[in-house]
C-alpha cells in the first residue's frame, strides 16, 4: 500500500506492505537506525518511538496503523544540540552498549513531558518496559532524574 508518514517533522511517502512493522520501515526503508530491535515482541522497549505523541513499541505497530500519523524517533528528539535528557545520559553514564539507549531516552522523554515528580518509583515505572543488559539500571534512573532537575 502507499502511505504517508510524518517522520521527525518531514512527510515521507512510501510503498509498503501494510503489516510491515513500523520498526522495519524506520530501519530498512528510511535508514533511521537509531531505533533498535531487541526482541520483536514488545518486551524490551529498544524500538520505542513516539506515535502521534504516544510512546509505542514500533515492533508491534503495523505500518498501516501509522498511515498519516506523526512519528518521532531518537533522531528527531534533538536538532543540533543534545536535549537535557540526552546530555544526562552521557554525563550520568546512562548509556553503555547503547542498544537500549534510544528507547530509554524516548521513554524517559515521555516521562519528563508528563510532568510527574521524578521519584525513584515513578521513573522506574515509566521505563519498566525498557530492558538493559549492561548498566544495571541505576544510572539510567539517575540520568532521568538529573534531567528532571535540570529542566524543571
Amino acid at each position: 500500500m502507499r502511505l504517508e508518514l510524518r517522520i521527525n517533522g518531514s512527510v515521507r511517502s512510501l510503498e509498503v506492505e501494510p503489516l510491515k512493522r513500523l520498526l522495519d520501515v524506520l530501519r530498512e526503508d528510511l535508514i533511521l537506525t537509531g531505533t533498535k530491535e531487541g526482541c520483536g515482541e514488545g518486551e524490551c522497549g529498544a524500538c520505542a518511538v513516539l506515535l502521534d505523541g504516544q510512546l509505542v513499541n514500533s515492533c508491534l505497530v503495523a505500518v498501516c496503523q501509522a498511515a498519516g500519523a506523526s512519528v518521532v524517533t531518537i533522531e528527531g528528539l534533538s536538532s543540533s544540540a543534545l536535549t537535557p535528557l540526552q546530555r544526562s545520559f552521557v554525563e550520568c553514564g546512562g548509556a553503555q552498549c547503547g542498544i537500549c539507549t534510544p528507547g530509554m531516552i524516548v521513554a524517559g522523554q515521555c516521562f519528563l513531558d508528563s510532568g510527574a515528580a521524578a521519584t525513584d518509583e515513578a521513573v522506574r515505572e515509566a521505563i519498566a518496559g525498557n530492558l538493559c543488559r549492561c548498566t544495571g539500571y541505576t544510572k539510567i534512573v539517575e540520568s532521568i532524574q538529573h534531567a528532571a532537575r535540570e529542566t524543571r
Binding site: 506492505e17 510491515k20 522495519d24 530501519r27 530498512e28 535508514i31 533511521l32 537506525t33 537509531g34 531505533t35 533498535k36 530491535e37 531487541g38 526482541c39 520483536g40 515482541e41 518486551e43 524490551c44 529498544a46 524517533t73 531518537i74 533522531e75 534533538s78 543534545l82 540526552q86 546530555r87 545520559f89 552521557v90 554525563e91 553514564g93 548509556a95 553503555q96 552498549c97 547503547g98 542498544i99 537500549c100 539507549t101 534510544p102 531516552i105 522506574r124 521505563i127 519498566a128 525498557n130 530492558l131 538493559c132 543488559r133 549492561c134 548498566t135 544495571g136 539500571y137 541505576t138 544510572k139 539510567i140 534512573v141
Partner: protein
C-alpha cells in the same frame, strides 16, 4: 611525567553517538545492493534432514535463493581453528541440536525473506535425543585441558582431602546446581558479508573479536588471512556469546558468495537460544571441613557440566576453589557430559560465577553449622599466597574489601532480623568475589599527524564497557596530549591485532599496548626534535625534555609535536608496540578479588525475593576510569541478581527444545528488580600483572553475588536453596 588523564572519571566519548542514535552497529552498516538472509532452524534435537521443500519459498517474488544442505556451496574446509566452536553450516544433513540452522532464505527485502522462510518445509527424521543430565551422567568424562580454564588440567589434588575431612570438627557435603543460562545481549547477532571478487571478503559482524572472525572465515573459505577484513565499530553487548563466530557468520559469507550479492543476516531473539551458546548446566559437589576455629581442613570441589555431542566446552567451575582459601588438603575436578544440546560457551565470568555460587554457599553453610560469622570463617582461612600454585599473589586486597564492605553495609551476621510490619522477612548474606586477571598479546599503533593530533589504533572492540574512552585516556597520557587531541579507533582487522574482548582482558591487554605505543611515539618525537637542526631543542638530552599538551620543553626552549612532524616532511610519525605476558608474570598468581554484602526481603505468602541492597567492594588493580568501571561493576552485580533469582534456559526434556525462547519467558532483570546497588573500589598498584597495572573489572561483579543472595535468603527464611535460580516455588 605524571599521568593526569588516566584514572579520571570522564564521560564516555562515544556517548554522543549513542544518545542520538548515530552510532552504527553491525546490522546498520549501509551496503548498496544488500540482500537479506533469514535462517530456518531445526525442530528436533537429533536426527537427519530427510527433505526440505523449497518450491513455495523460491516462487515468492524477490527470493534470490533458498540455501539448504543440498545446494549450499561446499566449503573448502569445514574444520574450525583451535579453541573455536564447531559450527553447522549446511554442509551435511545431520541435526545435532534443536534450533540449528537447516536452511537460509535470501531475498531482496527483509519481509520477503521472513515470509519465504515460513514457506520452507523441513522434513526431519528424529532420533532418540536426551537433554537430561541424569540420563548421561554415567558417561561423564575427563576433558582435555582447555583455554577456558587457562590450559590447566581438569583435576588437581593437594594434600590428603579425605583425611582432612575425617579430621574436621565440622563437615559440609552438599550438591549445588546452576542452570543453563543464555547471554541475551540486547543487540541481536548480526553479520553483513560482502565479497569483493572471488577471494576477497569483508564482513561487518557483531563480535567480541574481529581477528577470531577473520581467522575462522579465512580457514573455512581457504583464503589468505589478509584477504578477509572484519569490522565492528559498535557492539551492543556480548558477555561471551559474541566471543566466537557461530554458524550464522559463516552462513552469511557463504550466502553472499552463492547469490553474488552482499548479504545481511540478523538473528531473531528466539534464534539466540542455543545457536550462539549459553552457560552450561553445572552440578557441583562440595565437601568442606573445618576445625572448631573455622580453619578449613579440607576442600573438595567436583564439578560436572554439560556440553554438546560434537564439541567440548568446559565450564571451569571448580577452579575458583583452587585460589580462594588457605587449606592444606584440596581436590578439584571437572567432568563433562554430552547431551543433544548446542555447544555452551563462555558466559560472563565462566567458572567463577557458577563455581563461586557453590563454594561460597558451602562456606556459608559451614559457618552456620559452626555457629560462626561467615565473614570470620573466611578470614580464618584467608589465603596469603595461592594455595594451589604456591605462588604469591601479584596483589590481593581482599582483606580490605571485606572490611570496607562490612563497614559500608553495616554487617552483623548473628542477628536474625525480625520480620517487618508488612510481614516481609528480612535477611542478610555475604560472599567473596574473584576472577583471574587475564592478559594477552596485543598491539597498538600510535601516529602523530602534522596538525599535532594523534591517531591511535588497535583492533580491539568496545562492547559498551568503554574501550574507546579509556584507551584515549591512556594514549593521551602516554603521548603527552590532552584528550581532545587524541583519537583512538578500533574494531577493524586491518589494525594492529588485539585479543578478543573476553575474560575481562581488553583493558589490561589493549591499554598496555597503547601505553607502550604512545610512549614509543613520544620518545621518537623527542629524539627527532633534539636531533633536528630546525628545532629549538637541538642538542638537548632526551631525558631532560618535559612534555605537556603536545609541547616539549627543555632549558626554557620549546618545540611542538606538530612542528616536529612538519619539519620532517609532514608525513605522520608513527610507532607500533606490542604488549604481552612474559616469563616473569608466571611467578605470580593473578586475580581480582572482592566482597559482596546483600540484604533481601522475602514475601512469605508469595515466595518472592527482593534484593533491597547490594554492596560490593572490589580490588581490580588500577582503575582507568572510575565512572565507566562503576557501570561495569553495577551491571555485573545486577547480572548476579538475575542469576540468583530469574535466569534459566528451560528445556522441554521430551523433545530437547528450549521453551524459554524469548525475553518474556527468559527473565533478565528489569528495572523493578533492582533497588540499591553500591559498587566500590579498593585501588591497587600492581606492577606484576601487566604494564598498565590493570586486572579487569568486566566480570568480577557477577561472581559471588548469587551465593550472597542465597545466603541472605537462608538468613531470612531458614531455607537453603542449592539450585539456582531461587524461584518463589522453592521457598514455599
Amino acid at each position: 611525567m605524571k599521568p593526569t588523564i588516566t584514572g579520571q572519571p570522564l564521560a564516555r566519548i562515544d556517548g554522543h553517538a549513542k544518545v542520538t542514535g548515530a552510532a552504527r552497529y553491525s546490522a546498520e552498516v549501509q551496503i548498496s545492493g544488500v540482500a537479506y538472509g533469514v535462517l530456518v532452524t531445526s525442530a528436533c534435537a537429533r536426527g537427519r534432514i530427510l527433505a526440505i521443500e523449497t518450491n513455495d519459498a523460491e516462487r515468492e517474488p524477490g527470493v534470490l535463493a533458498v540455501i539448504t544442505p543440498k545446494n549450499a556451496l561446499r566449503l573448502p574446509d569445514t574444520k574450525v581453528p583451535e579453541n573455536d566452536r564447531v559450527v553447522q553450516v549446511l554442509q551435511d544433513d545431520r541435526i545435532v541440536y534443536s534450533n540449528q540452522p537447516v536452511a537460509l532464505v535470501v531475498a531482496e527485502t527483509l519481509e520477503g525473506a521472513m515470509h519465504a522462510a515460513l514457506l520452507v518445509k523441513v522434513h526431519e527424521e528424529k532420533e532418540p535425543a536426551t537433554v537430561r543430565l541424569d540420563d548421561e551422567i554415567k558417561n561423564a568424562f575427563e576433558p582435555e585441558p582447555q583455554s577456558a580454564s587457562g590450559k590447566k588440567s581438569a583435576d588437581q589434588v593437594r594434600g590428603d582431602p579425605a583425611r582432612g575431612l575425617r579430621e574436621a570438627a565440622m563437615r559440609i557435603d552438599e550438591t549445588y546446581q546452576t542452570p543453563y543460562e543464555t547471554h541475551n545481549p540486547l543487540e541481536p547477532h548480526a553479520t553483513t558479508a560482502v565479497w569483493n571478487g572471488p577471494d576477497r571478503l569483508t564482513v561487518y559482524d557483531a563480535t567480541q573479536g574481529v581477528f577470531g572472525v577473520r581467522k575462522k572465515l579465512a580457514k573455512m573459505f581457504a583464503l589468505p588471512t589478509g584477504n578477509v577484513r572484519v569490522l565492528t565499530k559498535f557492539v551492543g553487548g556480548g558477555f561471551g556469546c559474541k566471543g566466537t563466530p557461530w554458524s550464522h557468520v559463516i552462513l552469511a559469507a557463504l550466502a553472499a558468495k552463492q547469490v553474488g550479492r552482499p548479504v545481511k543476516l540478523v538473528l531473531t531473539r528466539p534464534q539466540m537460544f542455543g545457536m550462539v551458546g549459553g552457560r552450561p548446566l553445572t552440578r557441583q559437589r562440595l565437601s568442606v571441613g573445618a576445625n572448631k576455629q573455622g580453619k578449613l581442613t579440607a576442600l573438595r570441589h567436583e564439578s560436572v557440566s554439560t556440553t554438546s555431542r560434537f564439541d567440548d566446552f568446559l565450564e571451569p567451575a571448580a577452579s575458583v576453589s583452587r585460589h580462594s582459601y588457605a587449606c592444606e588438603n584440596m581436590a578439584t575436578s571437572h567432568r563433562l557430559v554430552r547431551l543433544d544440546i548446542a555447544t555452551p560457551t563462555y558466559m560472563r565470568a565462566p567458572g567463577e560465577a557458577t563455581g563461586g555460587f557453590a563454594l561460597e554457599s558451602a562456606i556459608d553453610e559451614l559457618a552456620h553449622a559452626l555457629k560462626m560469622d561467615p565473614l570470620a570463617l573466611r578470614l580464618a582461612s584467608y589465603a596469603e599466597t595461592d594455595p594451589t600454585e604456591d605462588k604469591p599473589f601479584s596483589s590481593k586486597s581482599l582483606r580490605k574489601c571485606y572490611a570496607e564492605g562490612a563497614r559500608r553495609f553495616g554487617w552483623a551476621w548473628n542477628k536474625r532480623s525480625p520480620a517487618r510490619a508488612d510481614g516481609m522477612l528480612v535477611g542478610v548474606g555475604m560472599a567473596t568475589s574473584s576472577y583471574p586477571a587475564y592478559f594477552s598479546k596485543a598491539e597498538a599503533l600510535a601516529r602523530m599527524l602534522p596538525d599535532g593530533t594523534a591517531l591511535v589504533t588497535s583492533g580491539a572492540v568496545d562492547l559498551g564497557g568503554g574501550t574507546y574512552t579509556v584507551m584515549s585516556q591512556v594514549a593521551a597520557d602516554a603521548i603527552g596530549l590532552p584528550m581532545d587531541r587524541v583519537r583512538f579507533d578500533l574494531g577493524d582487522s586491518e589494525m594492529p591485532e588485539a585479543p578478543r574482548s573476553g575474560g575481562s582482558q581488553t583493558a589490561a591487554s589493549c591499554a598496555s599496548a597503547v601505553l607502550l605505543a604512545g610512549r614509543a611515539l613520544r620518545d621518537k618525537l623527542v629524539r627527532m626534535a633534539v636531533a633536528d637542526a630546525g628545532s629549538p631543542l637541538l642538542g638537548a638530552r632526551p631525558d631532560e625534555v618535559l612534555i605537556e599538551n603536545g609541547r616539549m620543553t627543555a632549558n626554557g626552549r620549546t618545540d611542538s609535536f606538530a612542528d616536529v612532524v612538519k619539519r620532517a616532511g609532514g608525513a605522520p610519525v608513527e610507532e607500533r608496540a606490542r604488549a604481552g605476558p612474559d616469563e616473569a608474570r608466571k611467578k605470580w598468581s593473578l586475580h581480582s578479588f572482592g566482597a559482596q554484602f546483600v540484604e533481601v526481603l522475602v514475601d512469605p505468602d508469595l515466595g518472592h525475593v527482593r534484593v533491597k541492597r547490594l554492596v560490593g567492594v572490589f580490588a581490580g588493580g588500577r582503575i582507568l576510569n572510575a565512572r565507566l568501571a562503576r557501570s561495569q561493576l553495577m551491571g555485573g552485580m545486577v547480572w548476579g541478581i538475575g542469576m540468583a533469582l530469574h535466569e534459566e534456559t528451560v528445556y522441554d526434556e521430551k523433545i530437547g527444545r528450549i521453551m524459554t525462547r524469548d525475553l518474556a519467558d527468559y527473565h533478565v532483570p528489569a528495572h523493578a528488580d533492582v533497588q540499591v546497588i553500591e559498587p566500590y573500589f579498593i585501588e591497587e598498584e600492581d606492577v606484576h600483572v601487566d604494564p598498565a597495572g590493570v586486572k579487569g573489572i568486566g566480570e568480577i561483579g557477577i561472581t559471588g553475588t548469587a551465593a550472597a543472595i542465597a545466603n541472605a535468603v537462608f538468613n531470612a527464611t531458614g531455607k537453603r536453596v542449592r539450585s539456582l535460580p531461587i524461584t518463589p516455588d522453592k521457598l514455599l
